[in-house]
């Protein structure tokens, strides 16, 4: 069989190479255009994400269910109407039936509009209530976050300072991360068509401010701090030292960093 190394083939190859060389300037222009799309925008100068480790903690016994944090977050982050970056759940546990031998009755959970505007009185009569409390919920800042594990393109990630963020300019909107989050803290933003979630008010904490929900909370139910740079009489350190804390759904292995104190077993 004669080889394919004929004059015809050689000329074809040379033509191919020439075309490739001529395409280089066009390629460079494309690259520059693409780079412009991903250009750096103005951000707080001098902030080094490797020097900080942010954490939020929640004291369930301090939450009064006013819902001001939900409103504060909506205003701070322009969160769409039916979506929530943070929300409050009300748990009402009824008394067990007399003689049933049970320690508690049924559990009713509600979160009307995420708790925004506060809670109307529960429909369950006061005398039937064994105990009731409010639980604020938000992104649990997981160490083994299942959401960033399943993102197919690298649009959601754990930042070096401990915040799980979504790059809305890179997200393709597949929704895998929303399905993978066990805590229900993610949603599909109807305007940007990308995944969206609590960012721990990254744009505030990088400027030395506190997240909006922490700022507005009237009862210190939300405690925030930098684990790497505790301030004088740091509320976060005090909270961790003085309380027995736990994370939500620990059995799933997501290693949620957000600490809750005063949780009941009924809280999922």
């Amino acid at each position: 069989m004669t080889g394919s190394f004929t004059r015809r083939n050689a000329l074809k190859n040379l033509a191919g190479m020439a075309a490739g060389i001529l395409a280089l300037p066009a390629g460079r222009a494309c690259k520059a255009a693409v780079r412009n799309v991903f250009a750096i925008s103005q951000a707080p100068p001098g902030y080094d994400p490797f020097k900080h480790k942010w954490l939020m903690a929640l004291d369930v016994d301090r939450c009064i269910g006013c819902g001001l944090c939900v409103e504060a977050c909506k205003a701070e982050n322009s969160v769409p109407d039916n979506d929530f970056r943070t929300w409050i759940e009300r748990y009402v546990i009824t008394r067990p039936k007399a003689g049933s031998g049970e320690s508690r009755g049924d559990t009713f959970v509600d979160s009307p509009n995420g708790g925004m505007g506060g809670f109307k009185p529960s429909l369950i009569p006061r005398d039937d209530i064994l105990k009731s409390f409010f639980v604020p919920k938000l992104c649990n800042l997981c160490e083994n976050s299942p959401c960033s594990q399943v993102c197919p393109v690298g649009a959601t990630f754990e930042s070096p300072d401990g915040v799980v963020l979504v790059d809305k300019n890179y997200c393709i909107g597949c929704g895998f991360c929303i399905q993978a989050c066990p805590y229900g803290c993610r949603f599909m933003n109807p305007t940007t068509h990308t995944a969206d979630k609590c960012t721990l008010c990254y744009h505030r904490v990088t400027r030395g401010l506190r997240p909006a929900c922490v700022e507005i909370c009237p009862s210190q139910a939300r405690i925030f701090g930098d684990l790497n740079h505790p301030i004088h009489d740091d509320p976060l350190q005090r909270f961790i030292e003085n309380n027995k804390t736990q994370g939500l759904k620990a059995h799933l292995g997501t290693k949620p960093r957000v600490r809750y104190a005063g949780l009941d077993e009924e809280v999922r």
């Binding site: 902030y47 009064i64 209530i129 690298g154 963020l165 744009h203 505030r204 507005i216 009237p218 009862s219």
Partner: protein
């Protein structure tokens, strides 16, 4: 080289086609991957700056201290010390930037929002049933918001 050329034409054609496809892939990857990708991890490092570039909405308690230090000190000494100014007074950034801009008047609703009694609220909170406690609409008749233990 001769041995390579002696391979059946099916194989040489397919190998050539594969090489072309692979080259196109790596070329596209080089051209289209954002520059800051992979810097800190499998994501665009520039995203951190883009997310942090958003303008904050709430001014924050510390900004009020600059001009209203008196009130902030009174507040810090009493039961409402944990409250941020904007919790009751609302978003104040406009006022910080231009003190001529006045904030809206506060109302009865603001106090009731937190202090209305509910079986779900913890015991340490002072709670009232509004209809039983006071039929008017001005809580400040009997209470001083910045110093709740005082009377006006």
């Amino acid at each position: 080289m001769k041995r390579l050329l002696k391979m059946p034409p099916q194989i040489t054609r397919l190998v050539l086609l594969t090489l072309v496809i692979v080259c196109i892939y790596f070329g596209a990857r080089h051209l289209l991957t954002p520059q800051s990708f992979g810097q800190y991890g499998h994501y665009r490092a520039n995203a951190l700056q883009e997310i942090a570039a958003r303008e904050p909405f709430w001014a924050g308690r510390n900004t009020c201290d600059a001009c209203h230090g008196e009130i902030v000190r009174k507040l810090a000494a009493a039961e409402h010390k944990g409250l941020s100014c904007e919790t009751c007074h609302g978003p104040s950034k406009a006022h910080v930037e231009n003190p001529e801009v006045k904030l809206p008047r506060l109302s009865y609703g603001q106090c009731v929002r937190c202090h209305e009694a509910s079986p779900s609220r913890p015991a340490w909170l002072h709670q009232i049933t509004p209809v039983k406690h006071y039929t008017g609409s001005v809580c400040t008749e009997c209470h001083v918001p910045h110093q709740p233990n005082e009377v006006p």
